[in-house]
């Protein structure tokens, strides 16, 4: 390992992950921290990285305050309703009150927005969504980050956060490796913003052959956003709130524009409306929540899942009516070509022309993320003017580790941010990070050589495991002393699927299953000490897997802790099948002790800071 070069860089603000949130952070950090050194580290190439690599066809979060279309309160009510009551309303309100300025910037930067020809307003897909031609959404926001940061490092995977040795519980930077050169990179920073996206591939995907990469969330979303903070003892929240999506079969083409704009609808294999069939059944589980409008996402999944279990499949999206209108047909196709091209490929291959044939829908494997109709992630401080004392400890979007900030999928509790809200949250975190650094004054961060050298040893160990182990065997992939990344990944997915509520069990789990699952995840994590990597690309896969594994354990612990079924359609606790507001109308928090690896769980209060009002409950 002596030949591996170490590259050291000192900076003020380090942004980990240059996706929607990270590009927003790099941009805003420069505005407020004019003379600060701002570095962004990205695992891929910032021009096409993260969940938005292929583009988006809609911006799913826009208030339209200028036309009084929605106010931030309305968005809080909406997100709270969709997540069955449980969100951080301070964070949601804060994001919503700023998101319009983000969208207006995108418009100025050249992102093609569709407009209503009569009113001149942005064309609405639904109450919150506006339609765009967003093939180049990511290159555009990347350009803003490149213009703002001192330096963007592409192809560096961050594996660990550094801690300050001068003050307890304070971050000191991050380390990682370059998957092209193999160089070891040390970034010492006064503040770190983690914006590394959500987690796919922790549950077994529906396709396990060549198509396993065609997941809904990108296969490169590997949970670093959670693993990095968890490893240094930051508190996490609502990690049990994994999301399952109803999507077009196999290609995972989004359904939002179809339901909202094209006015298509679903039916079962016999052409019947099945959703209303499950009303009474769902009411027994969740009570009056089923009467809320709009019907929460999980409950709509629930009806689909029950219908399929009862033999009513396949479920179809009725497109043949809407698609007779050539304009709507064009929107339907371009929707996919702009953000989920794989769906167009599936339809072309199976001769599915939605003008003449109603395509199938199905529910996906679960994902862990914080920006969609779900809110798993880190427990962060809210803004000073909105947050009750339990939600505020100094700096907006700061985790429970000093100097460590989060945004986008990283941040828990603030659902329904999507692309624009994630970028906005990156901006919020960056401004707070600038303030934090200014308040630090000339206080220095102490990161010893030893801390860096120890991580170096750990990071490259999979290469050594492979070199040594490979010599024991003649050829092939079966070794008694190491596991390859793909083998470990498949074991992880099988455990999560069968014990923690994946598609294989119809999203069902219980205390006994979870305890067994946690035991097996423990053994897997021990085995990952022996993971082998043949080259730097596989070294990246090895670290992606380690990050997925620690994220998964956190998800399992949270799922075990919450003794109710809060979100039927996302997962079920078979031993507690009902929603239980008396005991669980609260947020869950976890902390993993960095020394022992033990998780401790607690409940956190849930504040409804926005009143019930209007049509949404």
């Amino acid at each position: 390992m002596g030949k591996i070069k170490t590259v050291l860089e000192d900076c003020d603000i380090l942004v980990v992950g240059g996706g929607m949130a990270g590009t927003g952070a790099a941009f805003e950090a420069r505005y407020w921290g004019r003379d600060m050194k701002i570095i962004c580290v990205e695992k891929a190439n910032i021009d096409r990285s993260g969940a938005v690599a292929q583009g988006l066809y809609a911006i799913n979060c826009y208030m339209g305050m200028q036309w009084d279309e929605n106010q931030p309160e309305d968005h809080v009510r909406y997100a709270r309703n969709d997540l069955m009551g449980l969100v951080r309303e301070d964070l949601g309100y804060d994001m919503a009150r700023h998101v319009d300025s983000t969208v207006h910037m995108f418009d100025e930067w050249g992102l093609p927005m569709m407009r209503n020809k009569e009113t001149g307003r942005y064309l609405r897909e639904g109450k919150w969504q506006i339609m765009i031609h967003g093939e180049s959404y990511k290159p555009i926001v990347a350009e803003a980050a490149k213009k703002s940061a001192d330096k963007i490092y592409n192809r560096i995977m961050v594996t660990h956060l550094l801690m300050d040795e001068g003050k307890e519980n304070r971050v000191g930077g991050a380390v990682g490796f370059n998957m092209r050169t193999g160089n070891y990179h040390v970034f010492r920073a006064k503040a770190v913003i983690v914006s590394a996206g959500g987690a796919s591939h922790i549950f077994k995907p529906r396709s396990v052959g060549e198509g396993m990469g065609r997941t809904w969330y990108a296969p490169w979303s590997n949970g670093s956003a959670y693993a990095l903070p968890i490893a240094v003892g930051a508190k996490m929240t609502q990690m049990e709130n994994r999301i399952v999506l109803t999507r077009f079969k196999d290609g995972y083409g989004p359904v939002g524009a179809y339901f909202l704009h094209l006015k298509t609808y679903t039916q079962n294999g016999n052409g019947e409306n099945y959703e209303k069939k499950w009303y009474e059944h769902t009411k027994k589980l969740v009570g009056e929540y089923i009467d809320h409008t709009p019907v929460p996402t999980c409950l709509r999944n629930h009806a689909l899942i029950e219908e399929v279990k009862a033999g009513g499949g396949p479920i179809h999206m009725v497109t043949t009516e809407a698609f007779q209108d050539p304009h709507l047909e064009e929107v339907g196709w371009e929707n996919f070509l702009g953000m989920t091209i794989g769906q167009a490929v599936v339809w072309a291959s199976q001769n599915i022309d939605p003008k003449y044939m109603n395509p199938e829908l199905t529910t996906s494997e679960p994902y862990v993320m914080g920006s969609h109709a779900t809110c798993s992630g880190a427990w962060v401080s809210g803004p000073e003017d909105l947050s009750p004392p339990e939600y505020f400890w100094g700096y907006n979007r700061m985790l429970t580790v000093d100097g460590l900030f989060g945004a986008g999928d990283t941040v828990g509790g603030s659902a329904h941010k999507f692309s624009s809200g994630s970028f906005t949250e990156g901006r919020l975190a960056a401004k707070a990070a600038v303030k934090y650094i200014q308040d630090l004054g000339d206080e220095n961060i102490k990161v010893s050589n030893k801390q860096c050298e120890d991580f170096k040893e750990i990071i490259y160990k999979p290469l050594e495991n492979y070199t040594v182990g490979r010599n024991e065997i003649t050829a092939g992939t079966v070794s008694p002393s190491y596991l390859l990344p793909i083998q470990g990944l498949q074991r992880l997915q099988k455990i999560m699927d069968e014990y923690v509520g994946g598609v294989g069990t119809n999203y069902m789990t219980n205390e006994n299953l979870l305890k067994k699952g946690i035991e097996l995840l423990g053994m897997l994590q021990e085995d990952l000490e022996h993971i082998g990597a043949e080259d730097y690309h596989q070294l990246m896969r090895a670290w992606e897997l380690k990050h997925r594994a620690i994220t998964s354990e956190c998800v399992a612990q949270h799922t075990l802790f919450r003794e109710e079924t809060r979100w039927p359609g996302y997962y079920y606790r078979g031993d507690h099948m009902k929603l239980d507001d008396d005991n669980w109308h609260c947020l869950t928090l976890s902390r993993r002790d960095p020394k022992t690896g033990e998780f401790t769980m607690e409940k956190a209060p849930l504040y409804h800071i926005v009143d019930d009002n209007k049509d949404s409950k």
Binding site: W32, Q54, E135, H537
Partner: protein, 156 residues
């Protein structure tokens, strides 16, 4: 498989290697041409296809659910500001689409923040983000809630 590379077209320039978010387009040491080294970690995101100057990369739908005989081709033209798609079904049926990708010359309208006036301490201490409240396009300023509201219904 999902992406694959035509031997006769690829010249080994490496643009696809540079862009692939999954790090799976690599240059094969023997042929010195690009290859997808891990098809089961490909998202069919088409980033490499769009980036290839030789039009050498194509996609064959995932073998586990996509029958053969289809193609979805793309041409992204930054100068023209458009992206064009040709979808060919297994049964030979075809569909074509063209969309804009930008409304302004590339990158020109993104401000260079380091050249702007430095914001004052008051702005830094406020809840405003850059260019706010102007950029919100409302004359009521940044919305906020009254402190008394915050305690409504606390649950444990």
């Amino acid at each position: 498989m999902p992406t694959f590379v035509y031997m006769t077209r690829c010249d080994g320039c490496g643009h696809c290697v540079d862009i692939c978010p999954s790090d799976i387009m690599h240059i094969d040491k023997t042929t010195r041409r690009a290859v997808n080294i891990e098809p089961n970690m490909c998202w069919e995101c088409y980033s490499c296809v769009k980036a290839c100057p030789q039009d050498a990369i194509d996609v064959r739908g995932y073998a586990d659910f996509a029958p053969l005989g289809h193609s979805v081709r793309v041409l992204r033209e930054e100068e023209k500001g458009t992206i064009s798609w040709k979808v060919k079904f297994r049964n030979g049926h075809e569909k074509n689409f063209v969309s804009p990708i930008t409304t302004k010359p590339w990158g020109k309208h993104i401000p260079k923040l380091s050249e702007l006036e430095i914001p004052d301490k008051e702005a830094l201490d406020s809840e405003l983000l850059c260019f706010e409240p102007d950029l919100l396009n409302v004359d009521t300023g940044l919305p906020t809630l009254k402190k008394e509201q915050l305690k409504q219904g606390v649950y444990y």
